[in-house]
Symmetry: C2
Subunit: 477 residues, 2 copies
């Protein structure tokens, strides 16, 4: 089948071009006028809402409360935590004029909210009874991007940022891992991305964090995508903003804080984990339309039947859309919904109506088209969608495992990271990480939480390995 | 009962002080560091989420799709619609530096999104088949405020902004009125605010609109609060941004657009419509906690019973909170929840447990405390809450009607607007509106949609009245 004007460059030819063309043609996103900004179109935003709704529920169920903090932060706030300001300064957008005047102190458009939330936490926390303080915010943030890529690196993006304060390190670390678990589950259960949770090495830590944890997914070009991070801040921000409490014993103590975020970047992860040369492949749980019905033929008969069927599917809890664009050919519409990644397409023509059946075509899988009784569609569809969801997770897991190689020699390491990930022992020095990056473009993605204990020497420099287990290395987004 | 340190200035003494103290003491909001910004605390944000959830559902049910447009807008975009830029220029916050450099063109932090959405609509609309285009965005916006007031006028606020494009005036006007109806219903059904829907006079129109409609609520100091607006833009923005389509007849036509917004200002409306000298009074449908249970006495017996009861209330669909702050006296906790406006308080002490009852105290009403069987609480509570919701709407409606006076003489007009609203005939000239404002601080709030036809002369200048009906005048927020 030839590519019509809606087709996209094949992944194997140019993965980047495939991605850039697809996000636009599938109507997920459009370029904004300011450098690196994006317009999230309804189809892309609905996908985000579905992720957001589920993540929000899980955040609430674990005892966190949503709040909202100002977008504009005095520049001096960022300077209070030395590593933090150093990490973010090059990316800041700064408001210098407002209300027709030059401001006395410039305001930074938040790149993240640790500083302003730290300032407020200091006001709100005084006793051990105020702890833990478990907050979350849904917000937009701005980080100036020189090499923007829609969803993956944009000047403005949407996210949630959890910010919590605790009495001691143990409680803060429990929270850090709880957030990481939430992310692991949401990525796996909703987006069907079999992410690996692990800890970042020192060189890849968040600016100002004592420890940074991450979930890493493998994209279909073998690169890693950091899909969510959870940071234990130690007392760094508590010191900078004087977040203190009086303990039961009556002593003034510093809080231990955490922060954790998941963003619209997840949409990029969904696209690059499941998509193929025909376009998007959406996991049913995040698909704006789980099922599209395409009525075929002149007159209203097929359209009426399609609407009737849609009503029954809706009643069965299925997100269904009827494509009533009668001015477009069936073939054009089929291709369109394949491009847009709808899990299940139902075709309903005059012959189907006569025989009381409907043609079902899944977006992926070996079954081809199947003719099924019209009366059974609503009943079987929830199961069909669950199976498709499970199929995608299995497929992505198989892909990840097939592209992950244990590397004990430099040659096998260098080879592994051209195709996927290398599992290697490493000395843990920044200089050695830098050398590896310079030669292969690969970086340590994480030290996996569930990695088996292992000792030995660094795959690159031969010095004794640290971490006590293998590190995942890969090229990344 | 004396005012303890948590008490607030009585409304009758100083309504503004009452409001400012209450929003902070009820933990709805805190001041942000940048001028006029606010931190919405969990209790305030939950209230917003409850409004937002219901409004979002109604917006979706009427065929609109959510999308997201960039925060930062090139300054030149605002200049394309002359009235629009004139209206917003004094309020803009401007990003001049980003990524460590001075920008070639400054970027405005969106004060509203007509311009950037207009630019995108022009890209997305080409045929009559693309219409109507029905979009909505949930976002933060920034308008520099010289006289900030939490929720009512803040430098940054949260809102939804609907933006739609239509083939002709009739369809765009239908949309404008549909949005106004949504707002009227949400204000009345959720917030128990008996708003009056009507049209703004020319002088009070949105910058760039052809017609502006509003819902106006009466606060307990007799002032009006504009709680939502819906604008018919005519072809003003379509001309400025070239939003055009090819009609069925093959002609190139300009679209007719609308926009409509409701914001966190609504929270201010809830506070000032229902609150009293003891604090907030929250309508059950927007109350973060509809019921608070206060266990009384030493040991775990009351607390266990409270948690058990809370479980049954939750199962009955009630938002319930158990106040387990055993280190605070019952009286302190009772006052605290009255201040925070919880509709129903349940007190559960040792004597109640013995007799199998619980003491119920409603936030308002004449019944006083009632002792009711513990076993019946979960069953009767949804009805109790519905009654309380209806009671608040009736009370607010009675208050509004008692403070609205038909004024046919200047004396009665001037008197009416010191206490509430005046219903008066008006000539419709801006000069006469300005005179009225200069003398009484009252402005035309709206020409009510359901006002009876009436002709006569202007209450101020004696010239023939316009509009064909009476106009609502009042002081306003
Ligand atoms: Zn090494
Ligand atoms: Zn007049």
């Amino acid at each position: 089948m030839g590519r019509d004007e809606r087709g996209v460059t094949p992944q194997s030819e140019d993965f980047s071009a495939w991605y850039n063309e697809l996000v636009a043609k599938a109507q997920l996103v459009d370029r904004g006028p300011a450098k690196g900004t994006m317009v999230i179109r309804p189809y892309g935003y609905r996908l985000w809402e579905l992720i957001q709704g589920e993540l929000d529920q899980r955040i609430k169920d674990t005892g966190h409360e949503n709040a909202y903090f100002p977008l504009l932060i005095p520049e001096s706030y960022l300077q209070r935590e030395a590593q933090h300001v150093e990490g973010f300064s090059p990316e800041l957008a700064v408001v210098t004029h407002a209300g027709g005047k030059e401001l006395e102190e410039p305001l930074v458009v938040r790149p993240t909210s640790e500083t302003i939330i730290g300032e407020m936490m200091a006001k709100w926390v005084s006793s051990h009874r105020d702890l833990p303080l478990l907050l979350n915010q849904w917000a937009n943030v701005v980080r100036w991007e020189l090499r923007p890529r829609m969803f993956l690196r944009t000047t403005e993006f949407l996210w949630q940022e959890g910010h919590t304060a605790h009495a001691d390190q143990a409680d803060a670390m429990r929270e850090t891992m709880l957030a990481l678990d939430l992310y692991t589950e949401v990525a796996r259960d909703l987006a069907a991305i079999p992410v690996v949770p692990g800890e970042k090495t020192a060189g890849e830590r968040f600016a100002g964090a004592a420890r940074t944890f991450t979930i890493e997914g493998m994209m279909r070009d073998g690169k890693a995508l950091q899909a969510g991070t959870s940071h234990y801040m130690g007392t760094n921000f508590a010191k900078a903003f004087e977040i203190q409490y009086t303990s039961e014993a009556g002593r003034l103590e510093l809080c231990h804080t955490t922060s954790w975020g998941m963003s619209t970047r997840m949409i990029g992860g969904v696209i690059m984990t499941h998509g193929d040369d025909k376009g998007l492949v959406l996991p049913p749980r995040v698909a704006p339309h789980q099922v599209v019905i395409v009525p075929i033929g002149r007159g209203d008969q097929a359209l009426d039947a399609a609407r009737d069927l849609a009503g029954r599917l809706k009643a069965a809890g299925v997100r269904v859309h009827v494509d009533d664009r009668a001015h477009l050919s069936p073939g054009y519409r089929f291709n369109d919904w394949e491009l847009r990644g709808v899990p299940v397409r139902l075709e309903l023509g005059p012959r189907d109506l006569e025989s009381g059946t409907v043609v079902m075509a899944k977006r992926l899988g070996d079954e081809g088209k199947q003719s099924i009784p019209l009366d059974s569609v609503a009943e079987i569809m929830p199961g069909v969608l669950e199976d498709f969801q499970a199929f995608l997770l299995r497929r992505a897991t198989d892909f990840r495992d097939a592209h992950t190689h244990t590397a004990d020699t430099w040659e096998s390491f260098a080879d592994a990271v051209t195709q996927g990930w290398a599992l290697a022992l490493h000395c843990g020095t920044a200089a050695c990480e830098d050398e590896i990056k310079a030669e292969t473009a690969a970086t340590p993605r994480c030290v996996p939480l569930d990695g088996a204990s292992e000792t030995g020497v660094c795959v690159r420099c031969g010095q004794p390995a640290t971490y006590g287990k293998r590190v995942i290395f890969g090229r990344s987004y």
